[in-house]
């Protein structure tokens, strides 16, 4: 399905807070054929140049609100809309160096009709981080 389209090159950047780089962000689209409420996100994984980041290091931003992954499990009214990116901020003090990175992204969406396994989509892309 949308594996080759779900990880966006735009918006890939370090995130600064009080002049400190606290991590980086990536914009991702859903790979399923419809939008879903956040509890249906079964898993998210990101790795940059082989360094893995689990959901405990992620903050999920939809609109102006950010959630920990655990908080998304109960966000029954918050939607990841079809074709619209949400922002994942990965907490990594110091962030990423400017340059080309190999970025891996996995999402598992779990509509109830597929059974607990869900629909797993993953991709690895070379992506330039400038700032």
């Amino acid at each position: 399905m949308f594996e080759n389209y779900m990880l966006l090159n735009r918006g890939f950047q370090n995130i600064r807070q009080n002049n400190q780089i606290i991590g980086f962000q990536v914009l991702v689209k859903i790979a399923y054929y419809r939008g879903v409420v956040l509890p249906l996100i079964g898993d998210l994984q990101i790795a940059v140049d082989g360094e893995k980041f689990g959901t405990d290091k992620m903050r999920i931003t939809v609109g102006r609100h950010s959630y920990t992954f655990d908080e998304t499990a109960k966000a029954e009214d918050v939607r990841w809309n079809f074709g619209e990116p949400l922002t994942i901020t990965v907490l990594k003090p110091g962030g990423l160096k400017p340059g080309i990175h190999e970025v891996y992204f996995l999402q598992n969406i779990k509509p109830s009709y597929t059974g607990e396994r869900g629909r797993i989509s993953s991709v690895t892309q070379k992506m330039s981080l400038v700032n």
Binding site: E3, Y33, G35, K74, F82, S112, Y113, G115
Partner: protein, 389 residues
Amino acid sequence: MKLTRNEFLKTLGYASAAAASSGALASSAGAASSAGTQASSAGRPQDSIMLGVSLYSYQHAFYTHAMTLEDSLAELNSIGAQGLQIIDEITIPDFPNPPEQWVDQWFAMVDKYKLTPTNMNSFVDIWWGWRHKPMDLQEQVATLTTRLKLAKKLGFTVVRPTSGSVSEPVGKIFEEIVPIAEDLNVRVTPELHSPIPLQTNAAFVGGILDTIHKKNTKHLGFTLDMGDLPLPFSKERSLKYGDLTPAIVDYIDNAKAKGVAFEEAQAKVISMNPKSGDVSYGYRVFGTTPAAGMGGMMNFQNDPKDVLPLIPYIYNIHGKFYKMTEDLTETSLNYEGAFRVLIEGGYNGSIDSEYEGQRSMQAQWCEPINEVEQVRRHHLMMRRLLGRI
């Protein structure tokens, strides 16, 4: 209900592609009494079948913002399609509570492009993704009720809800929803999707039929998906239409003959940039069943004749297709056989093209994705099968 099925369908604007006015449908969405349409006078049974498109067909274009909603509806008008169906969670902004201004625009476009909303495809995710909690029955019914009200608000007369896995018993939700569906005058139609057995004594079909009869209702029925009526597998045909890659087929045949382990052969096939047909062929040759959720499984036991006794309960058809060739043939599904049965059985609802071939191309960059052209060819095929061209 004292109306006959045909009379009832007329009130829903289903009767005739020529006579049905989308404006009349919009204004009669909630009032079964305002029969603003009349049956076709052309006489042939197949003339009362409506042809339409599910916007699922254009999902890639919508996802990449290559086509807007209005572009899609204008395209339906351009090919003379009348039925319009959607996946609610693709199309509707701020789902399930679209802004009133958007609802107004929706009806303005439906009117402008002379469309008839048919089936709103919806989901009741009864397990909340397994991280949160299961929905209890009351929540399931409340969720589906919200969807039915939304469908009615947008002029849809049928809702296809997907809830639990079809390998589970037919859910109580369908029994509970009947009086609500009757009250709203919106039909609830669980989908007969590949690989569900279509025989009346099979679990899913039989379970829904039992509920229909127990409740004596015309507001519970089926959406039939054409993907559940595959052509018998033919290696020759698949090679001819490019659904199989010759080099990969040769590798799989040789690997099986030499006793190569399935896992090793699978890894090799994946490294050869396979099409989805190649992967399915590998499963077939090695006699291995794909893991749940992998898709691509077809029920070769189903026969178009199985559909005949179900026709009185089929209120919409997904014209599922994967690939239309330049000679206007669908390469894997039994359209010829299915259309014969639908005409014979007097089906008079809408058949809405549902293109799904883009999904196997997206992962492989193997062919250009042209959803619009594929749907156009599908409509040419359907018109040919109905004797309209």
